[in-house]
């Protein structure tokens, strides 16, 4: 059957790939500029980049702007935009990875109950235990909550004899409801004056971004993202099936657990700083696959880029729709995500 003439397979669509990545980075930087520039008080683009460049390398550009503008750009909007990018990139990568290891295109940290677990942990810290570990308390408790939710989801799926990857999502939805109920009990039992801020935070918002705290999500995101990227090809194999992945030498159960833990880490820390922002992890990887194909060595970084851009714009919308009030960003992503979900169902009737 082998033929004498060897026809090499056509190379991947490499021709347009570098342009695509370059274009996406340009879009990301442009979105970042817009996110800093647009708001209740408009700041010209020139000032935005002047302030940033000046901070990165002092006295590079003559400061012709007022100090209040500098404070808005550097102390409020820039960290907020950075947090938006990290949350968007992180949740999108978690969603993409979970979709591969559960082999279900509807997987998402929110739907699987991981976000709810994170919120539960954070609420426990904010309203009941107090910050016994200082600034680390909320992210740590959120991570533990997310991890606990993950463990419960995996446990329930085993208990319900749903170890097959596709039924994990149903277990996740069930657990998510239970944990949200528990989180609401925590809120109900707490001091009514404190609950207002917590309820608002739970709806999702990036208003709490501060330079001093950005390091936590950054470290977690970079660490987990690097690990996921190294395992991108294994994620490809996982989409084929557990047994096939196992015949390729992948320790399937352990790998899936590791991905869930990395997902809980990222989700937990993002929830701690931004509340529950749903549907980013569900939606963004689908769009990424439409653009770069299904290979996870491209899906993961592109999802991260796309997620960052998406959340920057969602935050711009959140800040401007009802300006000067901040609308919870979770409302925006939920609205767009829900509509996207309906569209997805319409496009693929035999989904899941």
């Amino acid at each position: 059957m082998t033929r004498a003439t060897h026809i090499p397979t056509a190379p991947r669509r490499t021709g347009r790939t570098p342009a695509l990545w370059l274009g996406s980075v340009v879009v990301l930087v442009a979105s970042l500029s817009c996110a800093i520039s647009v708001g209740a008080v408009g700041v010209p683009m020139g000032t935005v980049w002047g302030v940033i460049l000046n901070k990165l390398s002092p006295d590079l550009i003559e400061a012709t702007w007022r100090p209040t503008r500098e404070a808005i750009v550097w102390d409020i909007r820039f960290p907020r935009a950075l947090l938006a990018m990290m949350v968007g990139a992180g949740l999108a990568m978690v969603g993409a990875s979970l979709q591969a290891v559960t082999r279900n295109p509807l997987s998402d940290p929110h739907l699987l109950g991981i976000s709810s677990g994170g919120a539960f942990g954070a609420i426990l810290a904010l309203l009941h235990t107090g910050l016994f570990l200082g600034l680390l308390t909320v992210p740590l408790m959120a991570f533990l909550g997310a991890l606990l939710a993950t463990a419960i989801v995996l446990g329930v799926s085993r208990f319900a004899d749903a170890t097959s990857a596709d039924r994990l999502v149903l277990a996740g939805v069930a657990v998510s409801f239970i944990i949200m109920a528990a989180a609401n009990v925590l809120i109900f039992l707490a001091d009514p004056r404190a609950t207002h801020t917590v309820v608002f935070w739970m709806l999702g918002g990036l208003g709490l971004a501060q330079w001093s705290q950005l390091i936590y999500p950054l470290v977690i995101l970079v660490g987990c993202a690097a690990w996921l990227m190294l395992r991108a090809r294994d994620l490809n194999a996982m989409t084929v099936g557990d047994e096939t992945a196992s015949t390729l030498g992948i320790p399937v159960a352990r790998f899936r657990l590791s991905v869930f833990i990395a997902g809980a880490l990222i989700t937990g820390v993002m929830v701690a700083f931004s509340g529950i922002i749903g549907f980013v992890g569900l939606m963004v990887p689908h769009v990424a696959r439409m653009i770069v194909g299904g290979d996870y060595t491209r899906v993961l970084p592109f999802s991260a880029l796309l997620g960052a851009v998406f959340l920057l714009w969602a935050d711009i919308a959140a800040r401007t729709v009802m300006a000067p009030e901040d609308m919870p960003i979770g409302i925006i992503t939920g609205l767009i995500g829900g509509v996207f979900f309906v569209w997805l169902l319409r496009r693929k009737p035999a989904l899941a």
């Binding site: 669509r13 090809r233 030498g249």
Partner: protein, 257 residues
């Protein structure tokens, strides 16, 4: 491509109490094709899962050229044994080229695992052999059953294995594709273990036949010696007759209730 000797000794497995495979032993010389047949629930899938290192044996060993596959690291075992199973991904937009490239997974060294020139060459050969050149950029979800099956075989060949396991490779294929798959099995210079439903196809393509019933070996050996009227009738609870086809001068099993 080199074939390996497969030695199975005293192999058994049970999930809880009821054994799905009672102690089974057989030996397969390099390059031979073994057909595993038996009624539904006879333990065919269990045996195959033990061979491709998905189930850990309760007792006994599976040796490839003398190496116990459970004594080897998972990756080393995966460099020797490949499997084509009934699992088919659909919703993840992987292209045919992506799927075939997965076969190189156990051969990747280090973390990043660049697809080197040698990997590329092996992948291209596998794509060539299965005649998939026109399909490399297609998504798996858009292919027909026969095309998907070919993609999965190409993926297994890209693994460069010495033992190839096939789980019902002719399932859901039309006659032409069935014949193509069987032709491929005949020509591949590998040791092959395949489960098959169609006894006549099995007799035609396999060097050896293993009949399983309720997890026990009923017979092992050359097709003519093993697929006797009595053995087939008892195992499948039918009345089997070996008839002679005068035009093609071959024997053919027919089945009656």
């Amino acid at each position: 491509m080199t074939a390996a000797r497969l030695s199975v000794s005293n192999l058994s497995w049970s999930p809880k109490r009821t054994p799905l495979l009672h102690p089974t032993s057989f030996d397969l010389a390099p390059g031979r094709v073994l057909g595993v047949v038996g009624p539904n629930g006879a333990g065919k899938t269990t045996l195959l899962r033990l061979l491709y290192r998905f189930h850990k044996p309760l007792t006994g060993t599976v040796c490839i050229d003398g190496h116990d596959i459970w004594a080897l690291p998972a990756k080393s075992a995966a460099q020797r044994v490949a499997a084509v199973l009934q699992e088919h991904p659909s919703d993840f937009a992987l292209t045919v080229a992506d799927i075939v490239a997965l076969g190189r997974t156990p051969h990747r060294r280090g973390f990043v695992g660049n697809t080197g020139a040698r990997d590329r060459q092996i992948i291209d050969q596998a794509i060539d052999r299965l005649d998939l050149n026109g399909l490399t950029h297609r998504h798996l979800g858009t292919l027909s059953g026969g095309e998907r099956q070919r993609v999965m075989v190409a993926r297994a060949l890209a693994q460069d294995p010495q033992l190839l396991i096939l789980d019902e490779p002719t399932n859901h294929l039309d006659i032409r594709h069935q014949l193509e798959v069987l032709d491929l099995i005949r020509t591949l210079p590998l040791t092959i273990v395949t489960s098959l439903h169609d006894l006549n196809l099995a007799a035609d393509v396999c060097d050896d036949i293993l009949i399983l019933q309720d997890g026990r070996t009923i017979g092992f050996g050359a097709p003519d010696a093993v697929l006797t009227e009595a053995a087939v009738s008892n195992t499948f609870h039918v009345t089997a007759r070996r008839e002679h086809l005068s035009r093609s001068d071959t024997t053919h099993l027919t089945f009656h209730l």
